[in-house]
């Protein structure tokens, strides 16, 4: 039983088990009102900044609304959802995005863990090693993407020239691999950083005790470190998954969505910003929002990821 569960009956007992609110003194009421008033501006700003755009895009997604045909705006109910959800372009992009997310996050987790272990154990120039390893994460994604683009373009690129007579960015599988590579290269340091914070949670005593009991390095890693690090790993995975699902800039530069490498974000951009179709574009934005919400829900409810700073371990 958690603390919250045991506290609730205690509180009702104090109030005499009555339903409804206990009588408050005038001073307490005034204090509460003041509290609400003081919170109000922040709450209103929060709603205005985060809530309103979401509500507005849901409202837009229910309309036929093309900026170029302002006269033809009308309410169409779920027509836009039907149009998007029955479209093969959308599902191709959705599958691509999901695939990219799963593959790149999996690779990042393994590499990030290795990097974190190395950085954790580094004895000399620890600060320097950590700083240097963060450089890819610090480079603007578009800039990095352009250098990958040129590196993989025949004639100008040192990487493409390794393979004679090939243009890897013009083929579905190889361009997807390059996108994954660019993503992994960029965000592994971030993953490593989060995991390193988790590594710091593992007490040396536990590891020493485990080795006294005869556990080898691999056993110490899987039986001691991983369980203790679980909250940190899950938080890192959650952050990276949500981030990876929104992939845009690397694809935009590397292939611009050619050869079926478009992601859902790119397609939304194409419909909303390029196509000026607010109805369809907002529908896609809402669908992305829903998917992200579902991913977050699964992580938190099924895997028991805890938000950083809350109860360690979360719900199991």
């Amino acid at each position: 039983m958690t603390v919250a569960d045991s506290a609730a009956p205690a509180a009702t007992a104090v109030n005499g088990g009555k339903r409804g609110k206990p009588p408050l003194s005038e001073g307490k009421k005034a204090e509460r009102r003041l509290g609400l008033l003081l919170c109000a501006p922040a709450a209103i700003v929060m709603i205005a900044v985060t809530g309103w755009p979401i509500i507005y895009s849901i409202w837009l997604s229910l309309q036929r609304y093309d900026l170029r045909f302002p006269g033809q705006q009308e309410f169409v109910g779920f027509d836009n959802y039907a149009a998007v959800l029955t479209n093969s372009y959308w599902w191709t992009a959705f599958a691509t995005t999901m695939g990219l997310t799963v593959v790149s996050v999996a690779i990042e987790l393994v590499l990030g863990m290795a990097l974190a272990l190395v950085m954790h154990r580094t004895l000399v120039a620890r600060g320097l090693v950590r700083t240097v390893s963060l450089i890819p994460y610090g480079i603007v994604t578009v800039v990095a993407a352009f250098s990958w683009y040129y590196a993989w373009t025949p004639k100008t690129g040192y990487l493409a020239n390794l393979f004679v007579d090939s243009a890897p960015l013009t083929d579905w599988l190889s361009s997807l691999s390059i996108i994954v590579l660019a993503e992994v290269w960029k965000t592994t340091p971030f993953m490593a950083l989060l995991l390193m914070a988790g590594l710091a949670l593992v007490p040396d005593d536990l590891l020493k005790a485990a080795s006294m009991d005869g556990a080898g390095p691999w056993q110490r890693f899987t039986k001691v470190m991983l369980p203790v690090m679980k909250p940190a790993i899950l938080v890192a995975l959650l952050f990276r998954t949500l981030d990876a699902f929104r992939i845009f800039d690397n694809i935009f530069v590397l292939t611009n969505g050619a050869q079926d490498t478009s992601s859902v974000s790119m397609q939304t951009y194409n419909n909303l910003i390029k196509g000026l179709n607010l109805g369809i574009g907002s529908t896609m934005a809402v669908l992305i929002f829903l998917t992200v919400a579902i991913i977050a829900f699964i992580f938190i409810k099924v895997f028991g990821t805890a938000a950083p700073g809350s109860d360690p371990g979360g719900k199991r």
Binding site: F69, N87, T153, T170, N270
Partner: protein, 440 residues
């Protein structure tokens, strides 16, 4: 009480500091605004062009202080340019007076009510002496919505050491390329094959050259006739015979230019900007860098090449329309067009300028430092010939959707199955025309 007061005071001081800061900023803003609001400003939003500021300066001198044209540079890429203008116009921004429109946006801006119609004397001045192709791009529903500023047309570029005589038809070009390949010589046919507007330009040229149509005359329905299918066949054949660059499906204009300069290509289909680049980067080979109009599809009938370029429109939200029209007319006047053609290499829309061989400074002989149409455009007759047979891209307000869908369906060109691809295009273009459906 005293305690509460103290807390209040402590709480108030950051607020006061903020308001003081805010007032200061406001005052600074007002001061700078005062400093520069002496006269009327006409804002032009136009693509980056190296010497366009000089054209603007000349027009400002002519305006004699009645207004001042301010050149606001848009992003370099066409999509970025359109996005910036469209977003501001949709929000009714009054700060835009003159809009630099890529030739295929005029219908869209006119239909959306963002571009003011040209009438009366302004119209007469904007259309006088303009080549028919560029003029068509500025017209929508029989009304003029922009003044053609500059045009552009692709040519066939080749090396006369590799191919002494340029091919006259696509069939000949493919055969020559195959023969060159068999001999181990540079053989590639280079063109913009990436999934973007450039691929649509090539396709449109092929369709028009085959005597076909993509959309009906009024732009309201899809045609995709036999000519359109024939064009698909050619695209398929040229890209699946091993005579295109390995990077074809990632190549845009500049990659095509580089590939030709690298020496793997026998033929390059590209805009005239490749000539000054070649002149600068490979001066020793320049004498062998030759040009011709596009190869045709139907033997004996000249190719109809898709034109590019820019038109100047006046925003409906502008508060200074008469001045904006006047300024736009000055910016695309014969003198301005000539200046831009000689300094920035953008081909003029006025036919007379192609035969005008007076150098920039008429008192001195023509040279590289004092260019004339002769030195700057040795290919001017070929350009003019291509312009006279020009094709324009389908005129419709939904062009952007159309183009996105077309480039997606056509990419990669080697995977085209002429009949099936044509059917798919018919279906998807019909949806795109009504801004229904999803664009990829």
């Amino acid at each position: 009480m005293g305690k509460a007061n103290a807390r209040n005071r402590r709480g108030r001081s950051p607020g006061r500091a903020l308001s003081v800061l805010g007032a200061g900023l406001m005052a600074a803003g007002l001061l700078t605004a005062c400093g520069s609001s002496d006269g009327l400003k006409i804002n032009i939003y136009y693509a980056p062009e190296d010497n366009f500021q000089k054209v603007v300066d000349q027009c400002n001198t002519k305006a004699g202080g009645r207004y001042e044209i301010v050149y606001n540079k848009l992003p370099r890429g066409a999509d970025g340019q359109r996005e910036q203008m469209v977003r501001r116009l949709a929000a009714g921004d009054e700060g835009l007076d003159i809009l630099g429109l890529d030739v295929n946006w005029v219908a869209e801006f006119a239909e959306a009510g963002w571009a003011e119609e040209w009438t009366g004397g302004n119209k007469a001045q904007a259309t006088a002496g303009v080549l028919p192709g560029p003029l068509e791009t500025a017209t929508w529903n029989g009304k003029l919505y922009a003044a053609p500023k500059n045009t552009n047309v692709q040519l066939l570029w080749y090396d006369d050491r590799v191919t002494p005589a340029p091919p006259e038809t696509w069939d000949q070009m493919i055969d020559q390329a195959l023969a060159l390949k068999a001999q181990g010589k540079p053989s590639e046919i280079l063109f913009t094959g990436a999934q973007y507007e450039g691929l649509v330009v090539i396709y449109n040229t092929l369709v028009e050259s085959a005597g076909g149509r993509i959309l009906s005359e009024d732009g309201k329905s899809v045609v995709m006739d036999q000519g359109a299918v024939k064009a698909l066949e050619i695209l398929k054949r040229v890209t699946s015979s091993g005579i295109t660059n390995a990077s074809l499906t990632n190549q845009k204009e500049d990659e095509v230019r580089q590939a030709f300069q690298d020496g793997t290509g026998a033929f390059e289909l590209n805009w005239p900007f490749v000539y000054p680049s070649f002149k600068k980067e490979k001066p020793d080979d320049l004498q062998h860098f030759k040009w011709a109009t596009y190869p045709s599809v139907v033997p004996g009938q000249p190719a109809r090449t898709t034109i590019g370029g820019y038109d100047l429109a006046v925003s409906t939200a502008s508060r200074h329309k008469p001045e904006a029209f006047e300024a736009a007319l000055c910016l695309r006047s014969p003198e301005s067009q000539k200046f831009s053609a000689l300094n920035d290499g953008v081909p003029p829309t006025l036919e007379a300028l192609y035969t005008d061989t007076t150098p920039l400074d008429p008192t001195k002989p023509a040279s590289d430092d004092n260019p004339s149409m002769d030195t700057q455009y040795p290919m001017r007759e070929t350009i003019l010939e291509a312009l006279k047979n020009a094709a324009v891209r389908p005129l419709t307000p939904a062009y952007q959707n159309l183009s996105t869908v077309m480039s997606k369906v056509l990419s990669p060109p080697a995977a085209i199955d002429p009949q099936a691809t044509a059917e798919e295009l018919r279906k998807q273009l019909a949806d795109a025309l009504e801004s229904k459906g999803v664009i990829p």
